[in-house]
């Protein structure tokens, strides 16, 4: 068996199949990447070229005027400051929301997996339901809640909403990860005299890096890309970049500036792209991470 594999000569049929395989893969990858390519080349053309050229024709020379305009002077509705203020808004929302929901998820998962209490399974099942609630359903009650809390139309309000609906997912991630940690570890630490938070901080968190990476990437992408909550609960000053992008595309004086639209879209997508490029391999690794062997 082994000899067969090692000594096998590559036959003509094998070669043809291999070529067909790669051809298919390249075709599919090209198809998948096409919109991104169109976006990038369109954003680098000037208005004249966009109007006259075809969708796939390359820009005659590369210029970033439309990027600059999208960033600082394009009109979104009645204000014309580009998408930069909203880009910052998104960070103001994403950073605290990711941090808080990740921390809460870690503590929840820690309790549900390693400090089981009467009804903890029921509690987890109820929390899991939160992963499956369509967000459209909660828009109106949440609007009332935000108003009642006095944080409607603010980035704080959006942070709150994203934390509330993110905790279900983050808890699920951490809970599943912590399931593989032997309960004896907690017992040993308790006998050694460590309390609830000491055990969490000194023993559990240091082995949690893979799942923290997964959770942060997941939450960052979810919250950054969110449009529904952003459009429903933001005020004029607190719009996230996704909403601003929509406004920018819908605001036109005279002709449509596709190059500016595309540039704005690329800018809006950039942070999640960067996160994936730098942490993507940890994401895959963390998702498949198994037992913590002690």
């Amino acid at each position: 068996m082994k000899n067969n594999v090692v000594g096998r000569k590559t036959s003509g049929v094998d070669k043809a199949l291999r070529i067909a395989l790669y051809a298919t893969l390249i075709l599919v990858a090209g198809f998948y990447l096409m919109p991104l390519v169109v976006m990038l080349i369109t954003s680098m053309k000037d208005a004249e070229e966009v109007r006259n050229g075809t969708l796939l024709s390359l820009p005659s020379y590369i210029h970033f005027d439309s990027w600059e305009k999208a960033w600082s002077s394009a009109c979104t509705g009645s204000s014309c400051h580009g998408i930069s203020p909203y880009f910052m808004n998104s960070f103001k929302i994403v950073i605290p929301a990711v941090a808080i929901s990740t921390i809460l998820g870690a503590i929840n998962g820690y309790v549900i997996s390693l400090w089981r209490f009467r009804g903890s399974n029921l509690f987890f099942a109820a929390l899991l339901l939160g992963c499956f609630i369509p967000f459209q359903v909660v828009l109106l009650p949440m609007a009332r809640t935000l108003g009642w809390l006095g944080i409607a139309s603010s980035t704080t309000g959006l942070v709150f909403v994203h934390v509330v609906y993110g905790v279900a997912f983050t808890t699920l991630f951490f809970r599943n990860f912590y399931q593989s940690i032997p309960g004896e570890l907690i017992k040993a630490a308790r006998l050694d005299g460590a309390g609830f938070f000491t055990i969490f901080y000194r023993i559990i968190l240091p082995v949690s890096t893979p799942i923290i990476v997964v959770t942060v990437i997941w939450q960052f992408t979810q919250i950054w890309n969110d449009f529904l909550f952003g459009v429903a609960f933001s005020g004029f000053e607190s719009q996230p970049v996704t909403v601003a992008l929509n406004n920018l595309v819908n605001t036109s004086f005279g002709g449509k500036e596709y190059n500016v639209d595309m540039a704005a879209a690329v800018i809006a997508a950039l942070p999640t792209l960067i996160v994936y490029v730098f942490a993507g391999k940890y994401f895959v690794r963390g998702l498949t991470a198994g037992a913590v062997k002690g």
Binding site: E184, L185, K187, A188, L191, A194, I203, K293
Partner: protein, 369 residues
């Protein structure tokens, strides 16, 4: 060092009773082994002593102090776990000193303690490694080191050798015994391995279904089991149980034996069986009490030689186990390898009933007491 008293401890989850009133008292420096099949409640009892689980009823005293409702960290105990439960992110040295750190022992004292323990267990060269870089035996040592570092009043071992391979297990077993002799610590040790129990314990508590079946020294439990369960659980190969009828010969109750021929075995305590004449009981006879005929035993009071048919032989080196059928039950005999025995042969074997025990066939109760 401290004594430990477990006073009528009960534990139930809802309607399920896990511990049904456990009473055990051990002296300071004693090595107690809790042994029993899985699900007998031995680990629950261990966790209750540690304070990791609450008891439903009863009291636990360490050094004459009631600790029934004391939190684990204030009981001054240390525990070695089956999975070792080493903190994966810490080095060996940090693992050993974590308990001291939690108890706010100054750094200099901790370092001294780490050195002492490491030398004691010969793990000085491993102090900077992480648990993942250690072999099973080394992890086991570190786990013991972590327990030793705090110098607690009481040590709890929860099946500490179960994850080791056979050879290492025997080595570590001896090591633990030496350590106990050297330090004179009070130890409660849970295992399901009856050989571990026999070799290590000062006293053994054999448990089943949440009850202590018998508490005694290893020899007491081996020679004088309280009931059928204890008799069958302790000893390897297990004790033979021969269903046999009690017959009266010249007014003395004897145990009937039909192998190749029918004979009757005398019994050291015949009066106890008077009430059971005519009943079929279980005769408990350890394999080493059925041997090839030994000249020096010939003519002794409780020795009978009779022919049996060999079914299978199992040479073990020092002895050869001979399997046969007596009274329709499979019986193990321990003979000298030099004694000729082939499957199908009829050979003479010597039955020594001086240490035989008799059980009620239904309830498993001892009858000859």
């Amino acid at each position: 060092m401290a004594n430990l008293t477990i006073d009528n401890v009960k534990k139930s989850y809802g309607k399920t009773e896990i511990l049904k009133g456990i009473n055990i008292a051990i002296e300071a420096g004693e090595f107690l082994i809790l042994v029993g099949p899985s699900g007998c409640g031995k680990s629950t009892l261990m966790n209750s002593i540690a304070g990791l689980e609450d008891v439903t009823e009863g009291r636990i005293l360490i050094a004459d102090k009631d600790v029934t409702y004391t939190s684990p960290k204030d009981r001054d105990i240390a525990m070695v776990f089956q999975s070792y439960a080493l903190y994966p992110n810490m080095t060996v040295a940090q693992n050993i000193s974590f308990g001291l750190e939690m108890r706010k022992v100054p750094k200099e004292e901790r370092d001294v303690e780490i050195q002492r323990v490491a030398e004691l267990l010969q793990i000085s060269h491993l102090l900077d490694r992480k648990p993942a870089q250690l072999s099973g035996g080394q992890r086991q040592r570190v786990a013991m080191g972590r327990a030793l570092a705090r110098r607690p009043q009481l040590y709890l071992f929860d099946e500490p050798l179960s994850n080791l391979d056979a050879k290492l297990r025997v080595e570590m077993r001896t090591e633990i015994k030496k350590l106990h002799k050297k330090l004179g610590t009070t130890i409660v040790y849970v295992t399901h391995d009856q050989i571990e129990a026999m070799t290590l314990a000062d006293r053994i508590a054999v448990m089943k279904d949440g009850e202590v079946q018998q508490l005694g020294t290893p020899q007491e439990i081996y020679d004088n089991p309280a009931n059928l369960f204890v008799a069958g659980f302790m000893g390897s190969p297990a004790m033979n149980f021969i269903p046999s009828k009690i017959v009266e010969q010249n007014g003395v109750p004897m145990l009937e034996l039909s192998a190749n021929e029918t004979t009757a075995l005398p019994f050291p305590n015949p009066d106890s069986l008077k009430a059971h004449v005519g009943e079929t009981v279980l005769l408990g006879l350890r394999p080493e009490m059925i041997t090839e005929p030994q000249p020096h035993k010939e003519g002794q009071a409780f020795v009978v030689t009779t022919g049996i048919e060999v079914e299978v032989t199992e040479p073990m080196g020092a002895d050869t186990m001979i399997l046969t059928r007596i009274n329709d039950a499979e019986i193990n005999c321990r003979s000298n390898p030099a004694y000729p025995a082939k499957p199908g042969d009829i050979i003479n074997m010597m039955f020594d009933t001086s240490k035989a025990v008799v059980f009620d066939a239904k309830s498993g109760r001892r009858l000859d007491v």
